[in-house]
């Protein structure tokens, strides 16, 4: 940390408290004035097709309009009149709903001032926090990235990029030397996947112009993505010759030369880098089987959920897509998958983001909740599984229709009534945006839900990326950890009466950061749930990690909070060897090498087109985590937002599924399925069926004892882009037998089982003796079905 940052640290904390207090006070003042004006606050439940209908949304939208106008207006006096007109139009669009003739309009000046003030205090708070996390040296480029992304995602998702292209072309006609606009045009082409057009435009930026280095680097991105690796390398050499400090160009150059078999002679030594991470000795290696099994979907890196939608015993897969519909893949039981999206109902769910699986109506068929566009605003959808291969959108009838920047969602039975409730984590939907409250919906048990967020006391000021549920204090009730995207993380203790208490300070989990999805796990097998929190780092910190093997001293690696068994946690990632900084957007824990310790896979990236980084596989040997990514045969994925894992074929080998790609239309990569080349140890897969408890048994705890060790799992209702199968995989190394399995069902019933078979997949039903061998029965049923089909006349 440099001196400026150290000096700033303490006042920053004071300022943070001041801003939070000011925001809360201003918010209270807003409520009072609204009460006087006879207004009441309603959450948005439907898309605002006619623009904003409340002052807070209008003020935010107007500010976002201004940011976009500033972005796309040439910086000279001649364009001021046009910009002024655009600002006026934006004001009309944003505030058109206001009725100035109403008597309540008398309060408008005060309301407008308060609304603007609360927005500014929230924005200032986020700016302050960003500074606090990044420090003075890295903040400028990061803020530029944020400004770019948050002002244009709306443009791209609404397919308005054609208008940007036309604006840029018009500008270049009147000012051919405006190379800032030429760079903008080239970058827009890259984002659209129009690489030839991008290269042509970007190569027109002359060497003596200040935008030359960036233009060459963007051209390199276009060339790389269109498979012209040598030209891409040459373009980045030009970029580095002009700006030797550009680490992004150095990284892209490294990436290009990997395709050429090493650095060509035209690359000067000073421009080269080496990959210093990912080569620790692995215990298991992987092969890509996506094409072989029919899962090579070209994707834009969204959620992947693994579940058995038709109850045939085999694990099926659904993959969301940033632009098109969801794809549903049926597991044929013979090691292949068939795309059965058409007519499933899920194919109609476009712009999907995160997927979570839970049987909300306890009918035995797992249902889905899908969020849409967590970096903008969207409408989540609840799909009821009809049990016949189709899904019906029941969002409206179920009463969970919401409009907001939902990032992830999770199923949880927080009140233990045997029905799954729904939690939705809301991020930020724009550059100037006030926090959209997270939502907790209580399941009424009749197919409908009632929102209980306020009563539950789950209010937060921070934009939330991940909400993970787990029983951290072993009182039998699920608690909530919020991983906030820009701010401090929070832990809420479940009081058991429908309310929660914020225990973050006491628990010691309030570190600042760009939080990504989080999860509860017992990485050290002590019977107390620890917390894993993924953290997003900026591009320069990622490149630093690649080059040196560890993140910068003031970087933000993935966090592990060890449960101290007394209501507090200790952050232990450094002592566990987790020092690498990655742009982690998702990830999951699972025992890949069947050694009885949970390993971790990180899905990394960012919307930026030049930001390519690998997914990371960290192997836990019981003491430390080792980065084995490349040594284990995993590729440099580029972007791997929706990363997930499962024993897809019931053979004990945990495959890693990666829905690769990013937010922009051109950022398409292909889904990878990485399958272990060998069975590294014995295993047992456990599935649970709730009877009194919720049918999915989410929240159940399983303790398996074998080889003198006990491993603990708690069934999670999702906290990530994708959803792990509810099946629990236990690695059993070279143990020759399993001593016992103890299950604590969400409703409190405890059962113990012995004499379990090694290397199989078993299903327990709440309250029943014995278990079912899942695949033995599934294969018998498949055989019967196939005989029946063969017997039918052609």
């Amino acid at each position: 940390m440099n001196t400026v940052d150290s000096i700033f640290k303490l006042p920053a904390l004071v300022l943070e408290m001041g801003l939070t207090t000011a925001h809360n006070a201003l918010g209270e003042a807003q409520r009072v004035v609204e009460k006087v004006a006879g207004q009441s606050r309603q959450h948005l439940t439907a898309p605002p097709l006619n623009g904003p209908s409340d002052l807070d949304t209008a003020v935010s939208e107007f500010m976002n309009h201004i940011a976009r106008i500033a972005r796309y207006t040439p910086k000279d006096a001649a364009h001021l009149p046009a910009a002024s007109k655009e600002i006026l139009d934006a004001a009309k669009k944003s505030f058109g709903f206001l009725d100035f003739t109403s008597p309540a309009a008398i309060t408008l000046p005060v309301q407008f001032t308060l609304s603007f003030a609360t927005l500014m205090t929230q924005s200032a708070l986020r700016g302050l926090v960003t500074y606090d996390i990044m420090g003075s040296t890295r903040i400028q480029r990061l803020m530029t990235d944020f400004y770019d992304m948050f002002t244009e995602l709306q443009v791209f998702v609404g397919l308005e990029y054609k208008e940007i292209i036309e604006r840029c072309k018009d500008r270049l006609k009147e000012a051919p030397d405006d190379h800032a606009i030429r760079l903008e045009l080239g970058e827009t082409y890259v984002k659209c996947g129009l690489y030839d057009e991008a290269v042509e435009v970007l190569f027109q930026v002359p060497r003596d112009d200040s935008h030359y280095a960036l233009a060459r680097h963007e051209a390199a991105v276009a060339l790389y993505r269109s498979g012209r690796f040598e030209r891409a390398a040459q373009a980045d050499v030009d970029a580095l010759n002009s700006d030797p400090s550009d680490e992004r160009a150095r990284c892209m150059l490294w990436l290009s030369v990997q395709k050429l078999g090493g650095y060509p002679s035209f690359v000067p030594e000073s421009h080269r880098m080496e990959m210093k991470v990912g080569y620790e000795k692995p215990t298991v290696e992987f092969e890509d089987i996506a094409a072989k099994i029919g899962l090579d979907k070209t994707s834009a890196g969204r959620g992947v959920a693994i579940f058995d939608y038709d109850n045939d015993g085999f694990l099926d897969i659904v993959i969301a897509s940033a632009h098109g519909g969801c794809s549903l893949y049926h597991n044929n039981g013979d090691g292949t998958y068939t795309d059965v999206s058409i007519n499933s109902g899920l194919d109609t769910c476009v712009n999907g983001f995160a997927i979570t699986v839970g049987d909300f109506n306890n009918d035995g068929y797992p249902d889905l909740y899908i969020t849409r566009l967590g970096f903008y605003v969207g409408e989540g959808q609840l799909f009821r599984n009809n049990g016949d291969g189709t899904f019906t959108d029941v969002t409206k009838n179920a009463g969970v229709k919401v409009w907001g920047p939902a990032f992830t969602a999770s199923w949880v039975d927080y009140d233990g009534d045997g029905y799954l409730d729904l939690f939705i984590a809301n991020n930020l939907g724009g550059l100037f945006e006030r926090k959209t409250p997270n939502r907790l919906f209580h399941n009424n048990g009749d197919g409908t839900f009632t929102e209980v967020t306020d009563e539950a006391g789950l209010k937060t000021i921070w934009p939330t990326i991940g909400g993970a549920w787990g029983d951290y204090n072993n009182d039998g009730r699920p608690d909530l950890f919020l991983s906030n995207g820009l701010g401090r993380s929070q832990l809420y203790e479940n009081n058991g009466d429908g309310t929660f208490t914020d225990v973050s300070e006491r628990a010691g989990v309030t570190a600042l950061g760009f939080g990504s999805p989080a999860f509860f796990w017992d990485y050290d097998n002590d019977g107390w749930m620890d917390i894993g929190q993924f953290v997003w780092s900026d591009h320069e910190d990622v490149i630093h990690t690649m080059k040196t093997g560890h993140g910068p001293a003031d970087g933000n690696p993935m966090r592990v909070y060890r449960n101290n068994r007394d209501g507090t946690f200790t952050q232990v990632n450094e002592e566990l060897g987790l020092t690498g900084c990655w742009g982690t957007m998702s990830g999951n824990a699972g025992d890949f090498n069947n050694d009885g310790y949970l390993d971790v896979v990180l899905g990394n990236g960012s919307p930026k087109m030049d930001r390519m980084e690998p997914m990371i596989l960290l192997e836990n040997d019981g003491k430390k985590f080792h980065n084995i990514t490349f040594a284990a045969g995993l590729p440099f994925t580029g972007k791997s937002h929706g990363v997930n894992l499962a024993d897809l074929f019931g053979d004990g080998r945990m495959s890693i599924l990666v829905a690769a790609g990013g937010a922009y239309p051109g950022d398409l990569l292909t889904t990878g399925v990485y399958y272990p080349k060998r069975l590294a140890g014995n295993y047992l897969n456990v599935r649970l069926v709730g009877v009194k408890s919720n049918r999915s048994a989410i929240g159940a705890k399983v303790a398996l004892t074998a080889g003198g060790r006990t491993q603990y799992r708690e069934l999670s209702g999702g906290s990530n882009f994708g959803c792990l199968p509810l099946e629990q995989h236990f690695g059993l190394a070279d143990f020759e037998s399993i001593d016992s399995i103890e299950i604590r069902w969400p409703n409190g019933l405890e059962q113990r089982f012995e004499n379990l078979p090694l290397n199989s997949t078993v299903e327990f039903t709440e309250g029943q003796e014995g278990w079912k061998d899942v695949y033995a029965e599934a294969k018998k049923s498949a055989k019967k079905r196939s005989k029946k089909t063969t017997a039918q006349p052609a």
Binding site: G158, G193, R228, H323, S327, P665, T670
Partner: protein
């Protein structure tokens, strides 16, 4: 599991739509006297579709025995907008306007570009992407539609009859929200 509304080897629904450059086109009539045909759901504002301008322009010449039509179904797509793109991009293939996305819905299509290969009786042979959206220079480039056409022509089974959806959504709430710009 098989979907019961659009099956491989069974006829796709016929349609009759207005061509944006004038005149009405019926799919069954287009296929008469041909070995088969390709229907591509397409949009004038879809950046993915732009990538295939040259390929679609050259399709009729490369495959004289196959009918080819593009169907513009995207919500908000207008014949005027399509005609503007035809002029700007020198598009030479027939483009039909599908108001209300009716045909897209009947054909279970949610995004552009999405291609359907059929025989002369409209029996479905291939459904999905044109390729894996990589450039031909890229070692990882995979063509999907062309091999399917070749396999059909030579009487072979289609090795990969289906590829998954990707592209620009035909209907998205973001098209009907107030414009961002």
């Amino acid at each position: 599991m098989q979907n019961d509304k659009q099956k491989f080897g069974e006829p796709l629904l016929d349609f009759t739509l207005q061509q944006v450059s004038g005149g009405e086109i019926n799919l069954a009539a287009q296929l008469r006297g041909k070995k088969g045909g390709v229907v591509v759901f397409w949009s004038s504002t879809c950046s993915h579709c732009v990538r295939y301008d040259k390929y679609f322009n050259a399709f009729a010449q490369a495959h004289p025995d196959f009918a080819f039509v593009a169907v513009a179904s995207r919500h908000g797509e207008t014949p005027e907008g399509v005609r503007k793109s035809i002029a700007e991009r020198s598009l030479e293939f027939p483009i039909l306007h599908d108001p209300g996305s009716t045909v897209a819905k009947q054909w279970f299509t949610q995004q552009t570009p999405r291609a359907f290969l059929m025989d002369a009786d409209r029996n479905l042979l291939y459904r999905g992407a044109v390729d894996n959206f990589k450039y031909p220079d890229d070692p990882e480039f995979l063509n999907y539609l062309e091999p399917a056409i070749s396999q059909f022509e030579s009487g072979e089974a289609i090795a990969k009859p289906e590829t998954a959806s990707f592209g620009c959504a035909i209907m998205s709430v973001y098209y009907i929200l107030p414009k961002a710009l």
